[in-house]
Symmetry: C2
Subunit: 250 residues, 2 copies
Protein backbone atom coordinates (compact mmCIF):
# COMPACT_ATOMS: atom_id res chain seq x y z
CA UNK A 1 0.00 0.00 0.00
CA UNK A 2 1.18 3.53 -0.78
CA UNK A 3 0.63 6.41 1.62
CA UNK A 4 0.98 10.16 1.06
CA UNK A 5 1.97 12.33 4.02
CA UNK A 6 1.73 16.10 4.40
CA UNK A 7 4.28 17.51 6.86
CA UNK A 8 5.44 20.76 8.44
CA UNK A 9 8.96 21.30 9.64
CA UNK A 10 11.15 23.90 11.21
CA UNK A 11 14.28 23.54 9.07
CA UNK A 12 16.55 25.41 11.51
CA UNK A 13 18.36 22.38 12.86
CA UNK A 14 18.53 20.31 9.68
CA UNK A 15 21.11 20.09 6.91
CA UNK A 16 18.23 20.28 4.42
CA UNK A 17 15.72 17.72 3.25
CA UNK A 18 17.72 15.08 1.43
CA UNK A 19 19.73 12.29 3.04
CA UNK A 20 23.47 13.11 3.20
CA UNK A 21 26.20 11.05 4.83
CA UNK A 22 26.71 11.93 8.53
CA UNK A 23 24.15 14.73 8.50
CA UNK A 24 20.75 14.95 10.14
CA UNK A 25 18.21 15.74 7.44
CA UNK A 26 14.43 15.78 7.31
CA UNK A 27 14.41 12.69 5.12
CA UNK A 28 16.78 10.68 7.33
CA UNK A 29 14.79 11.61 10.44
CA UNK A 30 11.49 10.47 8.92
CA UNK A 31 13.02 7.29 7.48
CA UNK A 32 14.38 6.55 10.96
CA UNK A 33 10.87 6.82 12.43
CA UNK A 34 9.41 4.60 9.69
CA UNK A 35 12.18 2.06 10.28
CA UNK A 36 11.16 1.82 13.94
CA UNK A 37 7.52 1.32 12.99
CA UNK A 38 8.67 -1.42 10.57
CA UNK A 39 10.69 -3.14 13.31
CA UNK A 40 14.08 -2.34 11.84
CA UNK A 41 13.28 -2.73 8.16
CA UNK A 42 14.36 0.28 6.07
CA UNK A 43 11.66 2.26 4.33
CA UNK A 44 12.51 4.87 1.70
CA UNK A 45 10.39 7.97 1.32
CA UNK A 46 9.96 10.03 -1.85
CA UNK A 47 9.23 13.72 -1.36
CA UNK A 48 7.79 16.32 -3.74
CA UNK A 49 11.33 17.73 -3.89
CA UNK A 50 14.17 18.89 -1.66
CA UNK A 51 14.44 21.91 0.56
CA UNK A 52 17.78 23.44 1.53
CA UNK A 53 19.32 23.71 4.99
CA UNK A 54 17.33 26.07 7.25
CA UNK A 55 14.40 26.25 4.79
CA UNK A 56 11.01 25.46 6.36
CA UNK A 57 7.88 23.70 5.17
CA UNK A 58 4.27 23.88 6.18
CA UNK A 59 3.01 21.62 3.40
CA UNK A 60 5.80 19.36 2.16
CA UNK A 61 4.65 15.95 0.90
CA UNK A 62 6.18 12.50 0.54
CA UNK A 63 4.99 9.00 -0.24
CA UNK A 64 6.14 5.63 1.01
CA UNK A 65 5.14 2.01 0.51
CA UNK A 66 4.43 -0.46 3.25
CA UNK A 67 3.03 -3.93 3.78
CA UNK A 68 2.01 -3.15 7.36
CA UNK A 69 -1.74 -3.16 7.92
CA UNK A 70 -2.04 -0.30 10.37
CA UNK A 71 -5.39 1.55 10.35
CA UNK A 72 -5.00 4.85 8.51
CA UNK A 73 -5.80 6.98 11.57
CA UNK A 74 -2.97 5.34 13.53
CA UNK A 75 -0.22 6.15 11.04
CA UNK A 76 -0.23 9.83 11.86
CA UNK A 77 -0.19 9.21 15.60
CA UNK A 78 2.59 6.62 15.36
CA UNK A 79 4.78 8.87 13.21
CA UNK A 80 4.27 11.95 15.37
CA UNK A 81 5.05 9.94 18.50
CA UNK A 82 8.43 8.95 17.04
CA UNK A 83 9.40 12.17 15.27
CA UNK A 84 11.16 15.07 17.05
CA UNK A 85 8.90 18.03 17.70
CA UNK A 86 10.31 20.18 14.89
CA UNK A 87 8.64 17.86 12.37
CA UNK A 88 4.87 17.39 12.37
CA UNK A 89 2.88 14.95 10.25
CA UNK A 90 -0.34 16.82 9.48
CA UNK A 91 -2.06 14.29 7.28
CA UNK A 92 -1.64 10.69 6.09
CA UNK A 93 -3.80 9.30 3.31
CA UNK A 94 -3.77 6.19 1.18
CA UNK A 95 -3.11 6.84 -2.51
CA UNK A 96 -3.10 4.74 -5.68
CA UNK A 97 -0.10 2.43 -6.13
CA UNK A 98 1.07 4.49 -9.10
CA UNK A 99 0.77 7.87 -7.37
CA UNK A 100 4.14 9.62 -7.15
CA UNK A 101 4.83 12.48 -4.74
CA UNK A 102 7.30 14.13 -7.14
CA UNK A 103 6.22 13.25 -10.68
CA UNK A 104 2.55 13.96 -10.02
CA UNK A 105 3.09 17.48 -8.68
CA UNK A 106 1.03 19.94 -10.71
CA UNK A 107 2.24 23.07 -8.88
CA UNK A 108 4.04 24.26 -5.77
CA UNK A 109 3.49 27.29 -3.60
CA UNK A 110 6.35 28.94 -1.73
CA UNK A 111 6.23 31.83 0.70
CA UNK A 112 9.10 34.08 1.69
CA UNK A 113 8.88 36.19 4.84
CA UNK A 114 10.72 39.48 5.24
CA UNK A 115 10.76 41.09 8.68
CA UNK A 116 10.72 44.79 7.85
CA UNK A 117 11.29 46.74 11.03
CA UNK A 118 14.13 48.90 12.20
CA UNK A 119 15.17 46.49 14.95
CA UNK A 120 15.40 42.75 14.49
CA UNK A 121 13.37 40.44 16.71
CA UNK A 122 15.52 37.88 18.58
CA UNK A 123 12.60 35.41 18.52
CA UNK A 124 12.15 35.64 14.75
CA UNK A 125 15.72 35.29 13.55
CA UNK A 126 15.31 31.73 12.24
CA UNK A 127 11.93 32.36 10.65
CA UNK A 128 12.37 35.32 8.31
CA UNK A 129 14.89 37.68 6.73
CA UNK A 130 15.39 41.00 8.48
CA UNK A 131 15.43 44.05 6.19
CA UNK A 132 15.81 47.29 8.09
CA UNK A 133 15.09 49.96 5.48
CA UNK A 134 11.84 51.21 4.03
CA UNK A 135 10.46 49.16 1.13
CA UNK A 136 8.13 50.39 -1.60
CA UNK A 137 5.38 47.78 -1.46
CA UNK A 138 3.63 49.04 -4.59
CA UNK A 139 6.77 48.84 -6.71
CA UNK A 140 7.38 45.29 -5.43
CA UNK A 141 3.79 44.31 -6.22
CA UNK A 142 4.20 45.65 -9.73
CA UNK A 143 7.45 43.69 -10.13
CA UNK A 144 5.63 40.50 -9.08
CA UNK A 145 3.26 40.87 -12.01
CA UNK A 146 6.11 40.56 -14.51
CA UNK A 147 6.82 37.08 -13.18
CA UNK A 148 3.40 35.68 -14.02
CA UNK A 149 3.23 33.48 -17.11
CA UNK A 150 5.67 31.20 -18.88
CA UNK A 151 9.25 32.46 -18.95
CA UNK A 152 12.80 31.22 -19.22
CA UNK A 153 13.97 31.87 -15.66
CA UNK A 154 17.71 31.33 -16.29
CA UNK A 155 18.43 34.70 -14.66
CA UNK A 156 16.95 33.39 -11.41
CA UNK A 157 18.76 30.07 -11.22
CA UNK A 158 21.83 29.51 -9.01
CA UNK A 159 24.89 29.35 -11.25
CA UNK A 160 26.07 26.14 -9.56
CA UNK A 161 22.72 24.43 -10.14
CA UNK A 162 23.95 22.43 -13.11
CA UNK A 163 20.43 21.89 -14.37
CA UNK A 164 20.83 20.68 -17.92
CA UNK A 165 17.17 20.81 -18.93
CA UNK A 166 14.88 23.63 -19.87
CA UNK A 167 14.73 26.63 -17.59
CA UNK A 168 11.27 27.53 -18.75
CA UNK A 169 8.71 27.51 -15.92
CA UNK A 170 5.21 28.88 -15.59
CA UNK A 171 4.31 31.11 -12.65
CA UNK A 172 0.58 31.16 -11.91
CA UNK A 173 0.63 33.51 -8.95
CA UNK A 174 3.17 36.00 -7.59
CA UNK A 175 2.30 38.51 -4.90
CA UNK A 176 3.71 40.58 -2.11
CA UNK A 177 1.68 41.72 0.88
CA UNK A 178 2.34 43.79 3.98
CA UNK A 179 1.24 42.23 7.29
CA UNK A 180 2.11 43.96 10.60
CA UNK A 181 5.81 44.62 10.17
CA UNK A 182 6.25 41.70 7.78
CA UNK A 183 6.24 41.42 4.03
CA UNK A 184 4.96 38.14 2.70
CA UNK A 185 5.87 37.01 -0.81
CA UNK A 186 3.81 34.17 -2.30
CA UNK A 187 4.65 32.32 -5.51
CA UNK A 188 2.82 29.46 -7.16
CA UNK A 189 4.21 27.83 -10.27
CA UNK A 190 4.49 24.53 -12.09
CA UNK A 191 8.11 24.28 -11.01
CA UNK A 192 10.98 26.28 -9.55
CA UNK A 193 14.67 26.23 -10.45
CA UNK A 194 17.37 25.87 -7.80
CA UNK A 195 17.29 28.96 -5.54
CA UNK A 196 14.76 30.59 -7.87
CA UNK A 197 12.46 31.95 -5.16
CA UNK A 198 15.36 33.30 -3.11
CA UNK A 199 16.91 35.06 -6.14
CA UNK A 200 13.53 36.49 -7.21
CA UNK A 201 12.95 37.90 -3.71
CA UNK A 202 16.50 39.31 -3.60
CA UNK A 203 15.84 41.05 -6.91
CA UNK A 204 12.41 42.39 -5.94
CA UNK A 205 13.87 43.76 -2.69
CA UNK A 206 16.29 45.85 -4.76
CA UNK A 207 13.23 47.26 -6.49
CA UNK A 208 11.64 47.81 -3.06
CA UNK A 209 14.58 49.88 -1.86
CA UNK A 210 14.30 52.06 -4.96
CA UNK A 211 17.56 50.93 -6.48
CA UNK A 212 15.76 49.79 -9.63
CA UNK A 213 12.32 50.54 -11.11
CA UNK A 214 9.77 47.70 -11.22
CA UNK A 215 10.18 47.38 -15.00
CA UNK A 216 13.76 46.28 -14.45
CA UNK A 217 12.39 42.86 -13.48
CA UNK A 218 11.13 42.23 -16.98
CA UNK A 219 14.51 43.21 -18.43
CA UNK A 220 16.27 40.83 -16.02
CA UNK A 221 14.02 37.92 -17.07
CA UNK A 222 14.73 38.70 -20.73
CA UNK A 223 18.50 38.88 -20.15
CA UNK A 224 18.58 35.23 -18.92
CA UNK A 225 21.78 36.23 -17.08
CA UNK A 226 22.14 35.34 -13.40
CA UNK A 227 24.49 38.32 -13.00
CA UNK A 228 21.67 40.72 -13.87
CA UNK A 229 19.47 39.57 -10.97
CA UNK A 230 19.81 40.45 -7.28
CA UNK A 231 21.45 38.47 -4.50
CA UNK A 232 20.12 35.19 -3.12
CA UNK A 233 18.30 36.03 0.11
CA UNK A 234 18.96 33.74 3.11
CA UNK A 235 17.19 30.38 3.52
CA UNK A 236 15.42 30.97 6.84
CA UNK A 237 12.75 33.20 5.26
CA UNK A 238 11.64 30.48 2.82
CA UNK A 239 8.66 28.15 3.36
CA UNK A 240 7.44 25.38 1.07
CA UNK A 241 3.81 26.20 1.60
CA UNK A 242 1.81 23.75 -0.47
CA UNK A 243 2.36 20.99 -3.01
CA UNK A 244 -0.52 20.74 -5.45
CA UNK A 245 -1.71 17.50 -7.10
CA UNK A 246 -4.67 16.64 -9.26
CA UNK A 247 -7.68 16.68 -6.98
CA UNK A 248 -8.11 12.87 -7.24
CA UNK A 249 -4.98 12.34 -5.22
CA UNK A 250 -5.08 15.13 -2.74
CA UNK B 1 29.50 56.32 34.44
CA UNK B 2 26.83 53.72 35.04
CA UNK B 3 24.49 52.56 32.27
CA UNK B 4 21.29 50.54 32.49
CA UNK B 5 20.37 48.30 29.55
CA UNK B 6 17.05 46.68 28.73
CA UNK B 7 17.42 43.53 26.64
CA UNK B 8 15.39 40.79 24.94
CA UNK B 9 16.75 37.34 24.33
CA UNK B 10 15.75 34.01 22.92
CA UNK B 11 17.12 31.68 25.60
CA UNK B 12 16.96 28.55 23.43
CA UNK B 13 20.67 28.27 22.76
CA UNK B 14 21.99 29.47 26.12
CA UNK B 15 22.85 27.64 29.31
CA UNK B 16 20.94 30.31 31.23
CA UNK B 17 21.81 33.85 32.18
CA UNK B 18 24.70 33.57 34.61
CA UNK B 19 28.35 32.98 33.69
CA UNK B 20 29.35 29.32 34.09
CA UNK B 21 32.68 27.75 33.20
CA UNK B 22 32.81 26.47 29.59
CA UNK B 23 29.20 27.36 28.86
CA UNK B 24 27.75 30.04 26.64
CA UNK B 25 25.43 32.17 28.74
CA UNK B 26 23.63 35.45 28.19
CA UNK B 27 25.93 37.19 30.67
CA UNK B 28 29.15 35.84 29.14
CA UNK B 29 27.98 36.80 25.64
CA UNK B 30 27.20 40.38 26.66
CA UNK B 31 30.43 40.72 28.69
CA UNK B 32 32.31 39.52 25.60
CA UNK B 33 30.73 42.28 23.50
CA UNK B 34 31.51 44.91 26.15
CA UNK B 35 35.09 43.65 26.34
CA UNK B 36 35.47 44.25 22.60
CA UNK B 37 34.10 47.78 22.94
CA UNK B 38 36.58 48.33 25.80
CA UNK B 39 39.47 47.11 23.64
CA UNK B 40 40.06 43.91 25.61
CA UNK B 41 39.40 45.21 29.10
CA UNK B 42 36.91 43.05 31.02
CA UNK B 43 33.63 44.64 32.05
CA UNK B 44 31.27 42.94 34.50
CA UNK B 45 27.54 43.34 34.16
CA UNK B 46 24.97 43.08 36.95
CA UNK B 47 21.51 41.89 35.95
CA UNK B 48 18.18 42.17 37.75
CA UNK B 49 18.54 38.44 38.39
CA UNK B 50 19.20 35.16 36.58
CA UNK B 51 17.09 33.25 34.13
CA UNK B 52 17.46 29.49 33.62
CA UNK B 53 18.55 27.66 30.49
CA UNK B 54 16.00 28.02 27.66
CA UNK B 55 14.06 30.74 29.52
CA UNK B 56 13.47 33.90 27.47
CA UNK B 57 13.37 37.60 28.25
CA UNK B 58 11.73 40.56 26.62
CA UNK B 59 12.64 43.03 29.34
CA UNK B 60 15.67 41.81 31.30
CA UNK B 61 17.88 44.58 32.69
CA UNK B 62 21.52 44.94 33.68
CA UNK B 63 23.88 47.73 34.62
CA UNK B 64 27.57 48.21 33.95
CA UNK B 65 30.19 50.84 34.64
CA UNK B 66 32.51 52.36 32.10
CA UNK B 67 34.99 55.18 31.71
CA UNK B 68 34.49 55.31 27.93
CA UNK B 69 32.90 58.52 26.71
CA UNK B 70 30.68 57.14 23.96
CA UNK B 71 27.54 59.20 23.20
CA UNK B 72 24.52 57.47 24.73
CA UNK B 73 22.83 56.82 21.36
CA UNK B 74 25.90 54.92 20.12
CA UNK B 75 26.00 52.40 22.97
CA UNK B 76 22.93 50.56 21.77
CA UNK B 77 24.16 50.45 18.18
CA UNK B 78 27.65 49.28 19.19
CA UNK B 79 26.29 46.52 21.45
CA UNK B 80 23.75 45.26 18.91
CA UNK B 81 26.42 45.21 16.20
CA UNK B 82 28.57 42.89 18.33
CA UNK B 83 25.88 40.70 19.89
CA UNK B 84 24.48 37.59 18.16
CA UNK B 85 20.99 38.08 16.82
CA UNK B 86 19.26 36.12 19.57
CA UNK B 87 20.08 38.95 21.99
CA UNK B 88 18.76 42.47 21.35
CA UNK B 89 19.60 45.59 23.34
CA UNK B 90 16.36 47.60 23.32
CA UNK B 91 17.40 50.54 25.43
CA UNK B 92 20.52 52.02 27.05
CA UNK B 93 20.24 54.87 29.53
CA UNK B 94 22.60 56.55 31.94
CA UNK B 95 21.69 56.07 35.61
CA UNK B 96 22.95 57.40 38.93
CA UNK B 97 26.24 55.93 40.16
CA UNK B 98 24.46 54.24 43.05
CA UNK B 99 21.68 52.72 40.95
CA UNK B 100 21.73 48.91 41.16
CA UNK B 101 19.97 46.69 38.60
CA UNK B 102 19.25 43.99 41.22
CA UNK B 103 18.90 45.75 44.58
CA UNK B 104 16.70 48.52 43.20
CA UNK B 105 14.12 46.24 41.61
CA UNK B 106 10.67 47.06 42.97
CA UNK B 107 8.83 44.34 41.05
CA UNK B 108 9.17 41.87 38.21
CA UNK B 109 6.66 40.65 35.65
CA UNK B 110 6.86 37.17 34.18
CA UNK B 111 4.74 35.63 31.47
CA UNK B 112 4.26 31.95 30.79
CA UNK B 113 2.88 30.78 27.43
CA UNK B 114 0.94 27.55 27.03
CA UNK B 115 0.16 26.37 23.50
CA UNK B 116 -3.21 24.70 23.90
CA UNK B 117 -4.10 22.93 20.68
CA UNK B 118 -4.45 19.28 19.83
CA UNK B 119 -1.41 19.26 17.57
CA UNK B 120 1.86 20.90 18.46
CA UNK B 121 3.34 23.55 16.19
CA UNK B 122 6.89 22.72 15.01
CA UNK B 123 7.69 26.44 14.81
CA UNK B 124 6.61 27.13 18.39
CA UNK B 125 8.34 24.31 20.24
CA UNK B 126 11.02 26.52 21.82
CA UNK B 127 8.64 29.33 22.71
CA UNK B 128 5.85 27.78 24.76
CA UNK B 129 4.68 24.64 26.51
CA UNK B 130 2.33 22.41 24.54
CA UNK B 131 -0.70 21.16 26.45
CA UNK B 132 -3.01 19.07 24.31
CA UNK B 133 -6.15 18.69 26.45
CA UNK B 134 -8.99 21.07 27.15
CA UNK B 135 -8.35 23.57 29.96
CA UNK B 136 -10.96 25.31 32.08
CA UNK B 137 -9.94 28.95 31.74
CA UNK B 138 -12.40 30.21 34.35
CA UNK B 139 -11.15 27.79 37.01
CA UNK B 140 -7.56 28.84 36.25
CA UNK B 141 -8.49 32.52 36.48
CA UNK B 142 -10.11 31.88 39.84
CA UNK B 143 -6.98 30.05 41.02
CA UNK B 144 -4.84 33.04 40.01
CA UNK B 145 -6.77 35.25 42.41
CA UNK B 146 -5.64 33.19 45.41
CA UNK B 147 -2.04 34.11 44.60
CA UNK B 148 -2.55 37.84 44.96
CA UNK B 149 -1.27 39.36 48.17
CA UNK B 150 1.52 38.53 50.59
CA UNK B 151 2.05 34.82 51.17
CA UNK B 152 4.72 32.35 52.21
CA UNK B 153 5.31 30.65 48.86
CA UNK B 154 7.39 27.71 50.20
CA UNK B 155 5.07 25.28 48.40
CA UNK B 156 6.12 26.87 45.09
CA UNK B 157 9.88 26.86 45.57
CA UNK B 158 12.15 24.22 44.01
CA UNK B 159 13.32 21.88 46.78
CA UNK B 160 16.94 22.21 45.67
CA UNK B 161 16.78 26.00 45.82
CA UNK B 162 18.54 26.21 49.18
CA UNK B 163 17.21 29.69 49.84
CA UNK B 164 17.78 30.25 53.54
CA UNK B 165 15.82 33.48 53.82
CA UNK B 166 12.16 34.25 54.00
CA UNK B 167 9.88 32.70 51.42
CA UNK B 168 7.31 35.42 51.85
CA UNK B 169 6.66 37.33 48.64
CA UNK B 170 3.94 39.69 47.53
CA UNK B 171 2.09 39.09 44.26
CA UNK B 172 0.49 42.23 42.86
CA UNK B 173 -1.02 40.75 39.73
CA UNK B 174 -1.79 37.19 38.59
CA UNK B 175 -3.88 36.45 35.53
CA UNK B 176 -4.54 33.92 32.84
CA UNK B 177 -5.93 34.83 29.43
CA UNK B 178 -6.87 32.92 26.30
CA UNK B 179 -5.45 34.26 23.03
CA UNK B 180 -5.98 32.30 19.77
CA UNK B 181 -4.93 28.83 20.79
CA UNK B 182 -2.61 30.10 23.50
CA UNK B 183 -3.03 30.64 27.20
CA UNK B 184 -0.97 33.48 28.61
CA UNK B 185 -0.20 33.61 32.33
CA UNK B 186 1.06 36.93 33.71
CA UNK B 187 2.47 37.43 37.21
CA UNK B 188 3.84 40.58 38.80
CA UNK B 189 5.34 40.49 42.26
CA UNK B 190 8.00 42.03 44.45
CA UNK B 191 10.08 38.88 44.04
CA UNK B 192 9.91 35.26 42.94
CA UNK B 193 11.48 32.17 44.50
CA UNK B 194 13.49 29.71 42.43
CA UNK B 195 11.17 28.05 39.86
CA UNK B 196 8.19 29.72 41.52
CA UNK B 197 6.44 30.79 38.30
CA UNK B 198 6.95 27.39 36.68
CA UNK B 199 5.58 25.52 39.72
CA UNK B 200 2.61 27.89 40.02
CA UNK B 201 1.74 27.35 36.35
CA UNK B 202 2.15 23.57 36.72
CA UNK B 203 -0.25 23.66 39.66
CA UNK B 204 -2.82 25.90 37.96
CA UNK B 205 -2.77 23.63 34.89
CA UNK B 206 -3.86 20.73 37.13
CA UNK B 207 -6.79 22.91 38.12
CA UNK B 208 -7.38 23.66 34.43
CA UNK B 209 -7.62 19.97 33.55
CA UNK B 210 -10.21 19.51 36.30
CA UNK B 211 -7.99 17.36 38.49
CA UNK B 212 -8.39 19.82 41.38
CA UNK B 213 -10.88 22.61 42.13
CA UNK B 214 -9.60 26.22 42.08
CA UNK B 215 -9.81 26.42 45.90
CA UNK B 216 -7.11 23.77 46.14
CA UNK B 217 -4.59 26.51 45.28
CA UNK B 218 -5.25 28.28 48.54
CA UNK B 219 -4.80 25.03 50.49
CA UNK B 220 -1.50 24.38 48.69
CA UNK B 221 -0.19 27.85 49.62
CA UNK B 222 -1.20 27.25 53.23
CA UNK B 223 0.49 23.82 53.32
CA UNK B 224 3.93 25.37 52.53
CA UNK B 225 4.85 21.93 51.20
CA UNK B 226 6.44 21.63 47.75
CA UNK B 227 4.99 18.10 47.46
CA UNK B 228 1.46 19.50 47.55
CA UNK B 229 1.96 21.66 44.44
CA UNK B 230 2.02 20.54 40.80
CA UNK B 231 4.98 19.77 38.60
CA UNK B 232 7.47 22.34 37.33
CA UNK B 233 6.49 23.18 33.76
CA UNK B 234 9.32 23.38 31.20
CA UNK B 235 11.52 26.48 30.82
CA UNK B 236 10.77 27.37 27.19
CA UNK B 237 7.32 28.80 28.03
CA UNK B 238 8.76 31.33 30.51
CA UNK B 239 9.52 34.98 29.70
CA UNK B 240 10.97 37.62 32.00
CA UNK B 241 8.69 40.33 30.74
CA UNK B 242 9.54 43.47 32.68
CA UNK B 243 11.75 44.60 35.55
CA UNK B 244 10.22 47.48 37.46
CA UNK B 245 12.21 50.23 39.21
CA UNK B 246 11.22 53.45 40.90
CA UNK B 247 10.22 55.82 38.14
CA UNK B 248 13.28 58.06 38.76
CA UNK B 249 15.56 55.39 37.40
CA UNK B 250 13.51 53.90 34.63
Amino acid sequence: MRYLCVISYDGTNYAGYQVQPNKVTIQSTIEQALKMIHKGKSVLITASGRTDARVHAVGQTFHFDTTLTIPIENWKRALNALLPDDILVKEVKQVADDFHARYDVTAKTYRYLVFNQREHDPFQRNYNYHVRGKLDIEAMQKACEYLIGEHDFSAFCAAKAGVKGSKVREIYHASCEKEEGKIVFTFTGNGFLYNMVRIIVGTILEIGTGRYPAEKLKRIIDSKQRAEAGKTVPPQGLYLSKVHYQSDFH
